[in-house]
Symmetry: C2
Amino acid sequence: MITKMRESVREILGQGAELIDHALDRLLPSAEQAPISIHRAMRHSVFAGGKRLRPVLCMETARMIVGSGQVPQGVEELGAAIEMLHTYSLIHDDLPALDNDDLRRGKPTCHVVFGEAIAILAGDALQTQAYEVLARLQCPAPQTVEIVRSIAQATGSVEGMIAGQVMDLEAEEHEPTAELVEAIHRAKTGALIRVSLVSGGIYSGGSAADIERLREFGRKAGLAFQIIDDVLDVTQNSTQLGKTAGKDVASEKATWPAVYGVEQSVKDAERLVDEAFAQLTVYGERADRLKAVARYLVERTH
Amino acid sequence: MITKMRESVREILGQGAELIDHALDRLLPSAEQAPISIHRAMRHSVFAGGKRLRPVLCMETARMIVGSGQVPQGVEELGAAIEMLHTYSLIHDDLPALDNDDLRRGKPTCHVVFGEAIAILAGDALQTQAYEVLARLQCPAPQTVEIVRSIAQATGSVEGMIAGQVMDLEAEEHEPTAELVEAIHRAKTGALIRVSLVSGGIYSGGSAADIERLREFGRKAGLAFQIIDDVLDVTQNSTQLGKTAGKDVASEKATWPAVYGVEQSVKDAERLVDEAFAQLTVYGERADRLKAVARYLVERTH
């Protein structure tokens, strides 16, 4: 039974990733588009083997809300925009002035291949391109505006992704506390995962109650996801991880296992996923695919 | 008469800048908002003495299109978003990996004061915040979506600001040609000036014909503006300029005077402004304020 579930999750993820990869290829400037160096750099990082987890969460949420079993037309473009924002944050995070990482998903990082100047601009351009894609979404303008606002907030400096990156930088100078680690996680990774769900709900015409449930689901599932990321950094080597392992410990990052230990961290992640699932009860079987993906995220080994 | 015009331009610019400064202060996270380092960095660069030329162009365009003599309600928020985008590009342009500039508008640049990591993230966050502000504009959703799309395009990697920055980087390795210089200028500075006008037109409900005229006006005025910037870099010292003078020559940047000489450059800028003004004939006296600002831009000494 577990084997069968696993199989089906891999199918959901595989089909989703394929749809997103096609959308990304269509929505990014081609590698021959002048000025070519930046477009090659953007594509290098976007097509470096990401699993498209956020876009898949977005699409599966939209499918659940619509309820017909189909995803709403064009939702993969929203997913692609979210993946561009995720990739921009990785490129900038990897820069020498920030995490100084040479390896990401088993491949040399953007600045290693294209130099720092182009890497900075490629990150900038992926953020810009994401908003251009959002402004061309195939949904009514009021929903597009709400999606732009939600995404900007979720990636911003007050409670979003950038806030998390800054807190993370500042935390290196302090002993990590439970509160700090949770605040960093909620902002740095949690906010983008949360908005992947919420924006999928807005795109598919979800009610205010739907959006609120998705926000709460995302709050818990996003935290679980980041806890597992922290655990993997401790328990796996660089080859398994596709990036430099043990970096969090080496740089004294504020992580969940650093505060609670590995065993408790895994338990916390599992408990959070169960709590998250309670939000989806109202959707019955329609939530099965989304739940399977969320479950996979906390059971993955890399 | 010329003195009187000058006086009145300074009033237009002064009043406009005050309105924009208030809007920026209201729309940016406060300096006490956690995480404070990034919000201080954002404010450091935003409030480093910019003249708010792009927002003033935007607001005066909106006033001209509306035709009542008043600016439309809330247009200063659009102007503020444009200024955030302009500032983000300056912060990243000044980084050691790019232009490596320590001085901007007579003040130490963002990375000099706050370090490279925070400067990169502050630039990122200003871009993000700009889109959040755009998504809250006080105009109908379809216009907001059109503004977001226009601005993303104007600041993007294909024909916008980032494309110009990349071409500029790449040009340092080549002898500058007239075509290359014009292409860089159109993208690097021209596109944001053009969209300042165009988005002001969209915000105020301008017709397709209005938008087309504004685009053409902006195309010519924007190029003139950048030519004068290049000239000032050659003819002024660092104190007059408020930034490191002669940097373009030292780094063999592709500039208008490098191709045509200073005298011809000034003539070209003046001719372009005259051609730009021809687009505004249809608006009669309603265009006077906008024309005064544009004229000022090519007659300024710093």
